[in-house]
C-alpha cells in the first residue's frame, strides 16, 4: 500500500496498481492537464503540459522535502511517501509557458474547427493560459492535407504530441504516420503511396487533443456542443465494443469509442464507427403493412395489435426465427410470446453472418469475423426456452416438409441476409410475420411486414463473444411508424405501460441461471456472465480461474 499526498489530499493506492501521477491525481479529483500521454500508448513525456512539483515526506519526522525541478506527471509512477503539488505558482507558470508556446504558431481558427468545444488546447488555454498574446509571429492559416481516404490533417493546428503516430505504430501496427522534418518545421505526414488507411484509422481523430486530424465523415457537419452523447454498444460484430453515439435531434453524426477495459479499451474499428449510417438509410422500412390479395397495404399499429395474436394462434404449428441482432430482452419476450401461442413452437436461431477470419491487431484489438452482436445472448435464451437451439437449416427443411404453418421472423441485419430462392421456401405459409430493417425477398412474401428498430433505437442487452453482457438505452428515436421489437412484443404480451427492458432483464436473470448476475444493476462496462457463473459454482478459486479465461485479449 502506497500513501501519497496530492495537493494536501492523502490517497492510498494498493501495491498492485501501477499508476502514474495523472491517474493517481484523478482519484482525488485533481486534474493534471496533459496532451501527449494516453493510457493506451507508450509514454514520451514531450508535451510538458503535465509538469508538477514532487517531493518526499520523511516517515520519521513528517518533514516534506520538495525537489527543485518540475517533473512530468505522466512519467512519474507513484511511490510511497510521495508529495505532489499541482497548483503552485511554479507549476502554473510552466503550464502558461507551454500554452503560450503551443499557440505561437497555431492558427486559432476555432470558429471553423470541428474540435472547438472539446479541444484541449482551447480548454487548457482558458484554464491555464496567459490572458494576452505576446508572440510576434503571425501563424499559418488552415492548411489542409489529405492523409488517407477518411482522415484529413489541418497541418498548422497540430501540437506535435505524436499520439497519432504512436497509435499507428503501437496499436494498429500499420505505421503509416510519421513526423517529418525537425524542430518547428516538423509536421505529421504519410509517405507517398502509403496513405493512412487501416481499419482502426478513425481512432486517431479521437486521440488528437486538438483539431488537427479531421474525420471526413464528420467534418463540418455538426458543432460538438449541439450534440448529446449516449453510452451504447457497437452491434457491427461480436466484439461488442462500447461506444458513444453522438446525436442531435435524433440524427447521429458521430460514433466514438467509450473506454471499457473489459472489452475494447479505448478503441473501435472503422467498420463500427461508420456503421451508424444504416440508421438513417432511406431504404428502411418505416410503416407496417399487411397482405391483401397479392399486395401489401398499410395497416396501423392498434389494428395490428388487435388481430395479430389471433391470426398467429390459428396458424399453428408455429416457428420463430431469433435474429442474433435481437437484444436478450427481445429474444426472451419473443420466446415467451411464441411459446404462449404454441407451446411446441420451433425456436430457431437466425443466420449468423460471418466475414473472413477474426482480425487481430498488434495492440491486441480484435475485430470479430462474426458480424452480429448477440449470438451468445440469444442462444442462451432460446436454449433455455426450447431446450435446444435449432439452426436455420432445420426450419427450412420443416418448411419444405410442410409441417409448419406460421412463422415469426426477426431481422435487423445490415446487409441482405436472405436470397429469393431461400425466401421462396417460406411460400405457402398461412402466416408469415417479418420484422426487419430493410425490405427483402422475405418481406415481400410476408403476411405482415413490420418495420424494426436499428440498434441505436433500442433498449436492451447484448452478450459479446467473451460473455460480457452490456445494457444500453436508445440513443435516437426511431422514425415515426417504427415500433421497436421490444416494445411491440411487450404490447403483444399484454403488458401495461411502456416497454421496460430493465424489468425484462430482471425476469431473465431470475429465470435463466446463466444470466443471474443481471439481477443486479449492470455497470457501465457490463458484467461478465461466465466469470460470475464460475464464481458462483466454484467459489473463490473458480473466480480467479474464470477471470483468467475470459479476460479480453
Amino acid at each position: 500500500m502506497a500513501t501519497i499526498i496530492i495537493d494536501g489530499r492523502e490517497i492510498e493506492v494498493p501495491d498492485h496498481e501501477r499508476l502514474n501521477l495523472i491517474e493517481a491525481a484523478r482519484r482525488v479529483g485533481v486534474e493534471i492537464p496533459h496532451y501527449c500521454w494516453h493510457p493506451g500508448l507508450s509514454v514520451v513525456g514531450s508535451c510538458r503540459m503535465c509538469l508538477v512539483e514532487i517531493g518526499r515526506r520523511d516517515p520519521a519526522t513528517g518533514q516534506v522535502q520538495m525537489m527543485p525541478k518540475l517533473m512530468p506527471a505522466c512519467n512519474t509512477p507513484i511511490q510511497d511517501g510521495m508529495v505532489v503539488v499541482t497548483d503552485s505558482p511554479k507549476v502554473r507558470r510552466a503550464r502558461a509557458m507551454v500554452e503560450e508556446d503551443l499557440l505561437l504558431r497555431h492558427p486559432v481558427d476555432c470558429p471553423i474547427c470541428d474540435k472547438a468545444g472539446e479541444c484541449r488546447l482551447q480548454d487548457y488555454h482558458f484554464r491555464y493560459g496567459q490572458p494576452e498574446r505576446r508572440g510576434d509571429v503571425r501563424p499559418f492559416s488552415s492548411r489542409r492535407q489529405e492523409l488517407g481516404p477518411r482522415i484529413t490533417l489541418f497541418v498548422d493546428r497540430c501540437i506535435l504530441c505524436t499520439r497519432c503516430v504512436r497509435f499507428t505504430r503501437e496499436v494498429s501496427g500499420t505505421a503509416e504516420l510519421m513526423v517529418r522534418a525537425r524542430g518547428t518545421h516538423e509536421q505529421i505526414d504519410v509517405v507517398d503511396g502509403f496513405p493512412l488507411d487501416n481499419k482502426l484509422a478513425g481512432n486517431v481523430v479521437d486521440l488528437c487533443p486538438v483539431g488537427a486530424l479531421g474525420d471526413k465523415d464528420f467534418l463540418y457537419r455538426q458543432r460538438v456542443w449541439f450534440m448529446r452523447s449516449h453510452a451504447s454498444v457497437c452491434t457491427r460484430c461480436a466484439a461488442g465494443c462500447s461506444i458513444w453515439v453522438d446525436e442531435n435531434q435524433d440524427r447521429i453524426y458521430r460514433v466514438r469509442p467509450r473506454e471499457n477495459p473489459q472489452v475494447n479499451r479505448w478503441w473501435i474499428c472503422d467498420d463500427g464507427r461508420y456503421d451508424y449510417h444504416h440508421v438513417h438509410d432511406p431504404r428502411r422500412l418505416v410503416a407496417p403493412v399487411c397482405r391483401e390479395g397479392s399486395g401489401l397495404v398499410p395497416i396501423d399499429w392498434p389494428e395490428l395489435l388487435g388481430r395479430l395474436s389471433d391470426q398467429l394462434a390459428r396458424a399453428r404449428p408455429l416457428a420463430a426465427v431469433f435474429s442474433p441482432f435481437l437484444t436478450v430482452e427481445e429474444a426472451y419476450l419473443l420466446a415467451r410470446y411464441i411459446r404462449g401461442l404454441d407451446p411446441e413452437a420451433l425456436l430457431v436461431l437466425g443466420p449468423i453472418p460471418r466475414e473472413g477470419e477474426d482480425e487481430r491487431f498488434p495492440g491486441g484489438f480484435t475485430i470479430a469475423a462474426e458480424k452480429c452482436p448477440n449470438r451468445r445472448g440469444v442462444e442462451k435464451v432460446v436454449a433455455h426456452m426450447a431446450g435446444e437451439v435449432a439452426v436455420f437449416e432445420r426450419l427450412l427443411s420443416e418448411l419444405d416438409g410442410g409441417t409448419i404453418r406460421g412463422v415469426w421472423v426477426s431481422g435487423g441485419y445490415r446487409q441482405e441476409w436472405i436470397d429469393a430462392t431461400t425466401a421462396a421456401r417460406f411460400d405457402g405459409l398461412q402466416q408469415l410475420v417479418v420484422q426487419d430493417l430493410f425490405p427483402s425477398p422475405l418481406t415481400e412474401r410476408a403476411t405482415y411486414a413490420l418495420p424494426g428498430a436499428a440498434a441505436a433505437e433500442r433498449d436492451g442487452s447484448y452478450v459479446n463473444r467473451t460473455d460480457q453482457l452490456q445494457s444500453v438505452s436508445w440513443a435516437v428515436r426511431p422514425p415515426s411508424g417504427v415500433r421497436p421489437e421490444g416494445s411491440l412484443l411487450w404490447a403483444l404480451l399484454g403488458r401495461q405501460r411502456l416497454y421496460d427492458a430493465r424489468a425484462v432483464l430482471r425476469e431473465v436473470a431470475a429465470e435463466i441461471g446463466h444470466f443471474h448476475v443481471a439481477a443486479e444493476p449492470i455497470p457501465e462496462v457490463g458484467v461478465n456472465l461466465k466469470v460470475n457463473l464460475l464464481a458462483r459454482s466454484e467459489g473463490p478459486a473458480g473466480e480467479a480461474e474464470g477471470v483468467r479465461q475470459t479476460r479480453p485479449s
Binding site: V44, R48, L51, N75, R93, R138, T184, E186
Partner: protein, 451 residues
C-alpha cells in the same frame, strides 16, 4: 604548468601515429594486456571509480559511478556506445584523438567494455569526420588481426566486436538517448528518463554511453594508476559536499579570436586567461577579449572580468555558466557584437532542436524570432525581458524538457543578458531610435518568413 608533459596527446606528433605498430612501440595496449591478465571487471570499475574520473562529453558525470548502475549479473547482451558525435559548437578535441591516435580510443573502448562486460560496442561517429572514419576503420581491422578484438581477446575469455555507426549531421544525435535511438535506426528523439540507459538502453538492453576522451583517460588510469591521475587537476572543494572534484588531464579546444587556436592538453583547472595568453598566444590583432565561451556555446559566456576562472568542472559554474561542458574555449574579441553571438547561438539551437518538447521547440524558435527582429532594427527594450523569460523557462534544470539541448540553448541567452545587458540595450536604442520604448504586442510577421 608549462612543463606539463602531455599524456593523451603524447602520440599524435609521431609519424604514422595512427598505425598499430607505432602505437604499440609507444607502450600502446600495455594497459589492456596487464588488465586482462590481472584485474577482474569489478576491479576495473573500482579503480575508475576511485580515480574520480568524470565524463568529458559535457555533463561531467562520474564514469565509474555510471558503470556501477548496470544491473548486476545481467545475462547480457550489454552494449557500449562511444560518443564520437562531437557537434557542440567550438568543440574538436575528439577529432584530433580519433584522426591521430585511433588506437588509444580503441584501447580505452576495449578496456571499458571489459569493465562493463559489454560484448558489442558502437562508435557513433559524426559524419563530417571522414578521416577519423577511415583511421578508425583501419585501426579496428588491425586490432582484429592482432587479437585485440574479436573472440577471446589476448587469450582471455573476453570477446568484443566494435562497429562504427556514422551519424547524419544532427547535433541531437550526441545526446546519449538520441544516439541510442539513432543507432536503432530511428529518429534521434531523446528518450524520457527513467529508465536510464544503464537499465534499458540500446535495443532495450543495459547500455553505457561514454565520450571518446573519457575512454582515453581510462587507458592511462589503468596504465599509470589512480595516484597519478589524482596528482593532476583539482581535488574536491572540502566545503562543498556535492563537488566531485576535477582530476586528471583535459583537452582544451581553443578557437575564436586567438593567435594560436588548437587543442591543448593540460591538467584540469588551468585559468582561462592563462590558457589564452600562454598557450593561445593571446587575443589576435592585439585586441582584448570581450567574452569567452568556456566549454562549447551551450555553456554560455564569461566576461573579460571573469578570465581568472579556473577551467575545471566547478569554475565556470561559479561565474554563472552551465559548466565546463566540452572545454571548447571560444574567444570573442572586444569588437565582436554580443547580439551577433546571441543570434548565431539561437539560430543553431533552434535549427538543432529535435522538436519533441514544446518549450524547446517553440522557445528556441521564438527567441530567434525576437533576435531577428532586434537585428532588423525593430527591437524594443522589453524584448530583453522576454528573452530572459524564455531562457529561464527551458531546460532539464527547471525540468521543462527531456534533454539538455534546451539548457544549452538557454545558457547563452541567460549569461549574455546578465553580463552584457548594457551593450544589448545600447544596440536596441541605437538601431531603433523611435521605437525602442514601445510596449504591447510587437508587430507580427508571417511565420513563413521565419521558417
Amino acid at each position: 604548468m608549462s612543463d606539463y608533459q602531455p599524456v593523451l596527446l603524447a602520440n599524435i606528433h609521431r609519424e604514422d601515429s595512427h598505425k598499430l605498430a607505432v602505437y604499440e612501440a609507444a607502450g600502446g595496449y600495455r594497459a589492456l594486456r596487464k588488465t586482462l591478465r590481472e584485474k577482474s571487471p569489478q576491479e576495473v570499475v573500482g579503480i575508475v571509480r576511485a580515480s574520480g574520473l568524470r565524463g568529458r562529453g559535457g555533463a561531467a558525470f562520474p564514469t565509474g559511478l555510471k558503470w556501477s548502475f548496470l544491473p548486476e549479473g545481467h545475462p547480457g547482451p550489454i552494449y557500449f556506445c562511444v560518443n564520437a558525435d562531437e557537434s557542440e559548437p567550438g568543440t574538436f578535441c575528439n577529432r584530433v584523438q580519433m584522426e591521430h591516435d585511433p588506437h588509444q580510443v580503441l584501447e580505452g573502448t576495449i578496456l571499458s567494455c571489459y569493465a562493463t562486460r559489454a560484448s558489442t560496442a558502437y562508435i557513433y561517429l559524426r559524419y563530417e569526420y571522414p578521416l577519423a572514419y577511415r583511421r578508425l576503420q583501419d585501426a579496428i581491422a588491425e586490432c582484429y588481426e592482432a587479437g585485440y578484438l574479436g573472440k577471446n581477446i589476448l587469450g582471455s575469455d573476453f570477446s568484443l566486436d566494435i562497429h562504427i555507426h556514422r551519424g547524419a549531421g544532427a547535433y541531437i544525435c550526441g545526446e546519449e538517448t538520441g544516439l541510442i535511438e539513432s543507432i536503432e535506426g530511428k529518429r534521434a528523439w531523446p528518450r524520457i528518463k527513467p529508465p536510464f540507459p544503464a537499465v534499458e538502453g540500446l535495443f532495450r538492453k543495459p547500455t553505457v554511453v561514454n565520450n571518446v576522451e573519457t575512454l582515453t583517460c581510462v587507458v592511462h588510469i589503468l596504465d599509470r594508476g589512480v595516484e597519478w591521475f589524482q596528482s593532476l587537476g583539482v581535488p574536491p572543494d572540502p566545503d562543498n559536499p556535492r563537488d566531485a572534484g576535477s582530476y586528471g588531464p583535459k583537452l582544451y579546444g581553443l578557437s575564436g579570436h586567438v593567435n594560436r587556436p588548437g587543442v591543448y592538453e593540460l591538467p584540469l583547472g588551468v585559468r582561462c586567461g592563462e590558457l589564452i595568453e600562454e598557450y593561445g598566444g593571446g587575443v589576435w590583432k592585439g585586441r582584448r577579449a570581450k567574452a569567452v565561451v568556456p566549454g562549447g556555446v551551450s555553456t554560455g559566456l564569461m566576461s573579460q572580468s571573469e578570465l581568472d576562472t579556473p577551467l575545471d568542472f566547478a569554475g565556470p559554474v561559479s561565474v554563472g555558466c552551465l559548466g565546463l561542458g566540452t572545454a571548447g574555449v571560444v574567444v570573442l574579441d572586444e569588437t565582436y557584437p554580443i547580439i551577433d553571438f546571441l543570434y548565431n547561438s539561437c539560430r543553431f539551437f533552434a535549427h538543432e532542436s529535435c522538436g519533441q518538447c514544446t518549450p524547446c521547440r517553440e522557445g528556441t524558435r521564438w527567441a530567434l524570432r525576437i533576435l531577428e527582429r532586434i537585428k532588423g532594427g525593430r527591437g524594443r527594450l522589453g524584448d530583453l525581458d522576454l528573452l530572459a523569460e524564455i531562457g529561464e523557462g527551458i531546460g532539464i534544470i527547471p525540468g521543462t524538457t527531456i534533454c539538455g539541448l534546451a539548457d544549452g540553448a538557454a545558457w547563452p541567452i541567460k549569461t549574455a543578458l546578465r553580463k552584457f545587458r548594457d551593450e544589448l540595450e545600447d544596440y536596441i536604442r541605437r538601431t531603433n531610435p523611435t521605437g525602442y520604448m514601445a510596449t504591447g504586442p510587437a508587430e507580427a510577421v508571417d511565420v513563413a518568413e521565419v521558417a
